[in-house]
Subunit: 713 residues, 2 copies
Amino acid sequence: MRKILLTIFCVIQVQISWANDGYKLWLQYLPFENKAVAEYYRDYLENIVLIGNSPTHSVIQKELEIAIEGFFDMKNKPGINLNPSTALVWIGTEKELSKDILPELQSQINQLGDEGYILKYLHGKVIVTAKGNAGLLYGTFALLKQIQTREKLENLDILENPKIQLRLLNHWDNLNRTVERGYSGFSIWNWHRLPHHIDQQYIDYARANASIGINGTSITNVNANALVLTPEYLEKAAALADAFRPYGIKVYLTARFNAPMMLDNLSTADPLNPEVQDWWKKKTAEIYSYIPDFGGFLVKADSEGQPGPHNYGRTQADGANMLADAVKPFGGIVMWRAFVYNEKTPTDRIRQAYDEFKPLDGKFRDNVIVQVKNGPLDFQPREPFHPLFGAMSETPLMMEFQITKEYLGQETHWVNLATMWQEILQSDTYAKGKGSTVSKVLDGSLHEYKLTGIAGVSNIGTDRNWTGHHTAQGDWYSYGKLAWNPDSDIQKIGQDWLKMTFSTDSDFVKTAQGIMNQSYETLVNYMTPVGLHHIMARSHHWGPGPWVTGGERDDWTATYYHKVTKEAIGFDRTENGSNALAQYAPEWKAMWGNPETTPLEYLLWFHRVEWDKKLSTGNSLWDEIALRYQKGVEGARWMQSEWTKMNGKIDEERFSHISSFLAIQVKEAEWWRDACLLYFGQFSGIPLPAGVEAPKHDLNYYLNFKRNFVPGI
Amino acid sequence: MRKILLTIFCVIQVQISWANDGYKLWLQYLPFENKAVAEYYRDYLENIVLIGNSPTHSVIQKELEIAIEGFFDMKNKPGINLNPSTALVWIGTEKELSKDILPELQSQINQLGDEGYILKYLHGKVIVTAKGNAGLLYGTFALLKQIQTREKLENLDILENPKIQLRLLNHWDNLNRTVERGYSGFSIWNWHRLPHHIDQQYIDYARANASIGINGTSITNVNANALVLTPEYLEKAAALADAFRPYGIKVYLTARFNAPMMLDNLSTADPLNPEVQDWWKKKTAEIYSYIPDFGGFLVKADSEGQPGPHNYGRTQADGANMLADAVKPFGGIVMWRAFVYNEKTPTDRIRQAYDEFKPLDGKFRDNVIVQVKNGPLDFQPREPFHPLFGAMSETPLMMEFQITKEYLGQETHWVNLATMWQEILQSDTYAKGKGSTVSKVLDGSLHEYKLTGIAGVSNIGTDRNWTGHHTAQGDWYSYGKLAWNPDSDIQKIGQDWLKMTFSTDSDFVKTAQGIMNQSYETLVNYMTPVGLHHIMARSHHWGPGPWVTGGERDDWTATYYHKVTKEAIGFDRTENGSNALAQYAPEWKAMWGNPETTPLEYLLWFHRVEWDKKLSTGNSLWDEIALRYQKGVEGARWMQSEWTKMNGKIDEERFSHISSFLAIQVKEAEWWRDACLLYFGQFSGIPLPAGVEAPKHDLNYYLNFKRNFVPGI
């Protein structure tokens, strides 16, 4: 017996080790951590009345049920209170609210917009109210967030209106369910089963989006397939629109500019041709017969092979206005992307959108909004803000952020994108003097835009946790919060998200937020320090490719952008070079025009600099680049070691998943550093400075490193 | 106040409405339904000792933890017993078991094979034992199944050995993550993240398979990409093999026959060429350096465009033996598919596999097993058993079933495939007189095969419930159970699966099993009654296509098989026709050679019959066909109405999901009936008999019905 005892495992040590695949996102409604907390909220949760009757009210009721089920152990569920006279939480629109309560709230209700809400503690009761149903749903989610983040309810006095009207996700999802630049599996839209099967995931998608205030979704790729405009797919899109409607979410479609030719054999797609105009009017009426509240079109034209008005010698305004006229009678809008450039245009690629759109300012219909990427190139790890912001006082502009991380490590790197977005949103355009931030362009206050909007290119896919990396859920979350209010405090956003998603444990929240705060600069350092850009591998954009040159298009190569020689590196965009700098305000021209006053973050974006040039840090350019690559790698290792400390603080499944991805991140950070320093080092001819680790392989290894079927193309 | 009351919802009526996306399969470990049941099993579950130490032991421990967590409410978890002297459940291999217990079990232990297990109640203790670790894991799952199905433990006296050695899943998964004939999303293998990230889903995949005795998996498509044999992918396959190893599951790879040419530019792939043979030997050694227990190769050659030995005038045996020689030193095997046919061969397609392989009987190496589909055509809703079964006494044959429902309604139809499989497994080949069933061919007892095997083409994908239809999980489950023992009672299999997956409620189990029992015949009736076959749509095989004719290959059309005219329909396979019937035993030739004695299920498979021919049912052929189509539709509606009664018996999410798919099934059953009867009716010229509903549309509607991006190609 003694011998056996030595090898015995006792198996009954079951811990709170429940698997958590992350599907519930920030709507985990984690169980209350102790009895006191549970008892505090129990009073409220046992005594809710929801007044009114609509599909959105049903959705609110269901959400409260799900939340209560999460907060309490099944065996300790709150009882039922059917007596409104003792209710502690009142949820209803202003029309539904008790006349006893209304007068005291009237002055606040007067400040509410259509989608706003009030969350207020009044005479011992929590009041959730709004003008409309969507606001009421947002208010309910706000109340639940208070509870999820364990805030007291007695101090509640919140009045919130969204600062931006159109808050969209853009899915680059193809009809065959691949996702362009999607790294979390495939499209969640199962077109084949639609319209007959509405998957629970569509509902959970709508719940998640409504909880952060997203009110629109463009469900198909901007590299558009005209088929989505045919009855076969309109019937399916309509089924999605029906499912999303109670959540205040409208469906938008991408319009392929030559659809009249592809679907009905018209001989032209010229936007000034009456037959073409008529085709779009009829097609639009047909779409509205399927989807009465169809939001409108999102269009990528004259860019990267997509057809557009240029094919007929027309302007972007001609194209947009034709579609705008078609959707106008139905209240629809057109989101026209400014991401227009052409390899045959001889100027610097990053100049082209401004050159094209600035002269069209004021020439668009009032239901057109021009969608502009955050920077003038293409979602690089770091770019200065796009010069169109601030430059279009007569044409509403909306922001396009990329939530999916095409150029930022794709799904396996932890990067808190809110840090980057805040940098852009708080950039000063100086359009109307100091303080003319990009956020003020977007919320319409700077130019008094009638239409305001923001779009985020979705990072959602079929992965069990939606986004590949568990932490990429946080990018979806913070995008929604910044869409609601682009001046939001991203520290608060991050804390709330961590508490709602993982744990309210303060040590966990502090450590995880520490990682998040370092993550963006760390990534920039190990990928594209000192203003380097577009040096990733060809086509799939995964990993380093500073050697990419030649091929189909010069403006899709790395050498086009870094122009490395034995003497220097960088793209001169001052008046001595491409003069893209001229598109910015004089304040920026002064600062960025001079390499001495240009922040190192943008140095090689605007300037060509010699390898041995001494920088403000005291380092030569070469040493600075090398040391930043090294710092990036060390930052990734630090993130990994910080995360290791969180073992046991959250569920094992998500902890391990993130650990595994952090190991990949460290490995790939080293890959970036080694590949880039070996490649550029050939030109600089200068040894690596002290403190920078020797590369693991020789340059040939990196040049020949190839993986098949890299996702996201 | 009174006015408000009228519109109040009280929201706190939270029911047991927890969402269940089906991810846990039959390993739900559903909570005990009442205190008495919980207390009965608590005694055992609080007092388990697991003896020994290995990766498989860790897996066993973890599984017990997961199960206990499921069975008990978190607040009522069993305590810890560290005292083996009071243990009630002992789990250990024969080497690890107490010497006190061993003598009484010795005679049973002597009957154990490598993978077998004993589950026995002995002197107040439950003993789980086995010779090896895999058996111990299987035994543990068997114990947990007893508890999941609420069986008493005091009567336990089970000794089980698998009847078939190789029990594999075949994934037709491509390296780009599409799945050929996959209808539940995309491949669960995320090649890009491998080998660095082992997803929890791989572990859960291994758990599920081990729980039903699957011991091998071929992870890539038989339409093979040679890249999987390169270091890039071997490293990834090795990571999967490492993850699966503790679960007793070996990894197999599909070998593209011309890989030496594709990967290393050899000028030939001739299996008798020494350079080619040498290439495969080196390649195999390389594979084993990555995966020391690599199972071997699965090969599709000379079929549907795949390269093979025919390209060099060699036989299938030449091809198989070359690979067999390469894996032999490492203990590997070759599974060589018999699904070989060619449109240039002038004989009936269904004859060709037999014609090709029968003369090769005895010419294969002893580590080759020939993998034969259940029927001679291609996984049709109903086919007679493949004539090779029983015909190859000197060459081991293994079965290939298709769990994915390429021709059986794909993912949205509920069809209990076990019914069909049992029909095949219990078919009598008469090879050694009456009772020479296909199951006895497979378990090796009929011909004393040294190697036995069975493969199921996986229905697993990225869908949240793995298999698209929740009930298709049951096909995966029953496949595993029949692989373990092809003579298993499928009623017991179905009951166990329903209890473990959904509910132990007897009313639920009875009703759901009633549906399952009717589902197969129902589907055959609405798709291919009276022996019709291969009348589905072209290419994607979704929906009816009896009109499919012409094009690339005649043997891929419907008209090749039904040969409809105004006078008659059906394929004459008697000696007056293709004489495929000659491949069967005399007993079958006698029965199937005569239309009067041929069961109606196979009538048009073997015979051409005139429309007005009076059948044994008293109906003319046309009326019989029409009435069976109608019966199929009515059967599908009955399944739907039976299922509706189950509302509230299981969780809302899975109930609704299945309801939604049943609505699609009814709709598609009507589609099949209407399309086929309209098409064939043109030829018969006879009106529909009484009781058959008029078609919803005209024939043109069905001929022109087209959907884009149908999955599974």
